[in-house]
Amino acid sequence: MGRYILFRAAASVPVLIGITIIVFVILSLIPGDPATAILGSYATPENVARLNAQLGLDRPLVQRYFIWLGNLLQGDLGRSFSLNRPVIDEILERFNATLILSGLAFVMCSVLGILAGVISATRQYGLADKLITFSVLVGISVPSFFLGMMMILYFAVNLRWVPASGMYALYGGGDLPDLLHHLVMPATALAVVATGVVARMSRSAMLEVLRLDFIRTARAKGVRERRVITRHALRYAIVSILPVLGLQAGFVLSGAVYIEIVFQWPGIGRMLVDAILTRDIMLVQGGVLFVAACYVLFNIIVDLAQLWLDPRLGR
């Protein structure tokens, strides 16, 4: 087991390196040079050249990559010119907000999705199954940003149940209930599509498992049907649902962009969009890299969970 964890962690190193290369290369390909962008239209050629040298931009690409990578490993992601502060500071400040939002959305989509899938599969072609299948179809077809806007109209403006935007109340607040009050609507909007996907996968995984021989064995033992479903069928189905959960983690992590815009949530997604619009390359680079690395790490956890659940894999 310990060996496998090491092995799995080592296997993700090339992927992480690949990510840094891609992020570095594509963002170095950006037409127009950052120095001009930073200095604006007042730039003289000498100033531009001096800044380029200062930023190390006059060296060959490969050399620049290693310098950049070296800095990266020391936690230096460069400096955002639009915010005039180190990129890493900005990211760390905003990452919490994104993590809270997508974390709750992930928990919601996993729990509700699997639950809906299991109910749907065990009542196949029944009323509950039809209702769930239909809701799932609607859920995966509605754009999350549109759903978010409609939720604001209804729950925040019409019913006044929850605030329409932000993470904490401006005056007072700042505590956990206040956070949850602000969080519930954006997290739900973010979770809807992912829940639909998870529910679909769980339904078909369960249907497949319920046909397998060991389910018949459990029934032949006289095990109660509820227990056959949870302990025997779901236990097995989870192993094939896990990779889908891994994918959904990526979806809620990056799909948070829309939700953060719609609900003015102070997270990384909103930062990224602003950075792209202001062409703040360092900030984009840092943000993309950080989120992608989180996703890779999360998928290692998913793999390990799979190993823990399925003893056949670890040999």
Partner: protein, 625 residues
């Protein structure tokens, strides 16, 4: 072919509805230029935020006083065009990568698939953002970004299928005969890839439309004055609370389009992906459905288990598959009844029907009774039947690798068998009992085996665990369905000995199901031979083996290696079983029987004789009265 495919999709009502939605939307898009709508970009500040049906604006006007209906239709055109183009590009490039990687393999495959892996290591909305960051905001760039992000999905799926085709014997032979790679690729591989490409396309095109709309919504896609649905929604957001119609209308349009695509896409997948087709992916209920006409006959109270007139069929198509037809037998403690027949003869279904374990749907028990100690199991509520399962009537299945739960330890599965029927049992008691059960089936190191998972054990070991599990509650009846088939001869002998000892020492009634008369002869008191769902001969083992009365039994004996009559080489039976959905009116064996005459096929042949010897054959009936 195309027409049949389209019909199959449209038979699915929801898919038809989706297709209808899409046709409507695309139809509207096509005629948009001819509708005489106002220019979508003409600004008229006086009409800002006109409501629907106000001042001649059918759907109202936006924050610049532009006609929303006109903008909606032009925007839809743009969104559809961009989404579809992105999907086509992704399909084309992705499939190309997949085909090359799968067909040529080796270094090229490694390189391409590693790159695809790295692309997939990004959450894909994030990757799209990064690409737009490089290229700069703009609709064209958003299109490229969305297309790139979806390439890996096509590449992976197409590569998988290509790999299978490229490794097929057929392609290998064609290569040997000197056909060039290019010709093979174009004429043998590509034509077989359409369905996987179409399925991948139908899965992703909805996402791609959503994604481009999303990028435009963020202001990274279409730039003013040009606008697609996403940017309309993005602009509407500023006035969401005061003038919701400016955002609700484009939002609903995106929803309708994507919903239509998803509905149709599901239909396409069902039609193309046979694994998802109806029937194979059906839930199985905890008990076989029982649909008997009329009042079931009272059950025999003399024997422990009494099966009378049992019929089970599978309702798959118009003609039901009649797997078990009017089967009767009885069994007492300490006895061993063997049920013998070729695979497909209905012996396993008979065994599973006894406690309603045949997967339903599609199985239905259409007649008969199973009397256990005088009670008809099919008339009892499910909970009574469930309680008997494993406690009074236990099963041993053929392949313990698939019949034991792969993710639970042996100990946990043994303990469950006991605790299910006696919840008061504590952990230490369960453990002690599990160990002694394993010792009963002669497992040397039970403590260690308890903590193992089934996959880590040998076949013989697993089968003993299956037997131990069946013994857990000291049942009255054990039904063993081909318990030794997957094992080699020495292990087979050990398992048989264990079973034989058990029934003699514990007085268990054993139903032993096998295709192998050789195995059966070592353990059974009586033998019932089944053919095409019916018992064709039944009697004491020695009589049946030494003086087989039914031509099928004789053929079966002749085909069996060691006890074959005359000691000659085993002689396989010619021909096959009749189709269970098209059974002959007369003797089911007539087509393969050497003694068959016209009377055999004239009308149904009854099982005749005394309780000690029953035979279903016209010839035998004539000879023995």
């Amino acid at each position: 072919m195309m027409v049949r495919f389209a019909k199959r999709i449209l038979r699915n009502r929801l898919a038809g509805f989706g297709a209808g939605l899409l046709l409507m939307v695309t139809g509207l898009c096509l005629v948009t230029p001819f509708l005489g709508l106002p220019d979508p970009n003409v600004i008229s500040t006086a009409d800002r935020f006109s409501l629907p049906f106000e001042d001649g604006f059918v759907l109202g006007a936006d924050h610049l006083g532009r006609d929303i209906l006109s903008r909606l239709l032009w925007g839809t055109r743009l969104s559809l065009a961009v989404g579809l183009t992105a999907a086509l590009i992704a399909a084309l490039i992705g499939s190309l990568i997949g085909i090359l990687a799968g067909f040529f393999g080796g270094k090229l495959d490694d390189l391409l698939m590693r790159s695809v892996d790295v692309l997939m290591a990004f959450p894909y909305i994030l990757l799209a953002l990064a690409i737009v960051a490089v290229l700069g905001p703009g609709l064209m760039n958003a299109l490229i970004a969305v297309a790139i992000v979806n390439i890996p999905f096509f590449a992976r799926n197409v590569r998988g299928v290509t790999l299978v085709i490229a490794r097929s014997d057929y392609i290998a032979a064609a290569r040997l005969s000197g056909r060039g790679s290019i010709s093979l690729l174009l004429f043998e591989v590509v034509p077989n890839l359409w369905s996987v490409i179409i399925v991948a396309f139908s899965t992703t095109v909805g996402w791609m439309i959503l994604e481009t709309a999303g990028l435009s919504f963020l202001g990274l896609g279409s730039q003013p004055p040009q606008s697609d649905l996403g940017s309309m929604l993005g602009e509407g957001r500023a006035a969401l609370i005061t003038n919701p119609h400016t955002s609700v209308i484009p939002g609903l349009m995106i929803f309708v389009i994507v919903m239509g695509i998803n509905l149709l896409g599901d239909g396409v997948r069902d039609a193309l992906d046979p694994r998802l087709a109806k029937g194979t992916l059906q839930r199985s209920s905890p008990v076989t459905q029982v649909l008997r006409t009329g009042q079931p006959a009272p059950v025999d109270t003399q024997s422990t288990l009494d099966v009378a007139g049992l019929s089970t069929e599978f309702r798959v198509d118009k003609n039901p598959l009649r797997a078990v037809r009017d089967v009767s037998f009885s069994l007492n403690g300490g006895e061993c009844l063997a049920i013998v027949g070729e695979s497909g003869s209905g012996k396993s279904v008979t065994a599973l029907s006894i406690t309603g374990l045949v997967a339903s749907p599609p199985a239905v028990i259409t007649s008969g009774t199973v009397g256990f100690r005088g009670r008809d199991l099919f008339s009892e509520p499910f909970d009574v039947l469930r309680d008997l399962r494993g406690r009074r009537i236990a099963y041993i299945f053929q392949d313990p690798l698939s019949t034991l739960h792969p993710l639970l330890t042996v100990g946990a599965q043994l303990a469950e068998a006991m605790v299910t029927h006696d919840p008061r049992l504590t952990k230490p008691v369960l453990r002690r009992r599990a160990i002694s059960l394993l010792e009963d089936v002669r497992i040397a190191n039970p403590e260690h085996i308890m903590m193992s998972y089934p996959h880590a054990l040998s076949g013989g070991m697993r089968q003993r665990i299956g037997i131990a599990m069946a013994l857990a509650n000291d049942p009255d009846i054990i039904i063993a369905d081909e318990p030794t088939t997957a094992l080699d001869v020495t292990v087979q002998a050990q398992v048989l000995r264990i079973l034989d000892d058990l029934r003699r020492q514990k007085g268990v009634g054993l139903i032993f199901i096998s295709h192998d008369l050789n195995v059966v002869s070592q353990i059974s008191d009586r033998i019932a031979v089944m053919y095409a769902g019916q018992i064709v001969e039944c009697g004491p083992s020695r009589d049946v083996l030494e003086q087989p009365a039914h031509p099928y039994t004789r053929a079966l004996l002749a085909s069996s290696p060691q006890i074959g009559a005359g000691g000659g080489l085993p002689k396989p039976i010619d021909g096959g079983l009749p189709r269970p959905d098209d059974l002959p009116a007369g003797c089911a064996f007539a087509a393969r029987c050497e003694m068959a005459t016209d009377i055999c096929s004239a009308s149904a042949v009854e099982l005749r004789g005394s309780a000690s010897r029953e035979v279903r054959c016209v010839k035998w009936e004539a000879a023995n009265g």
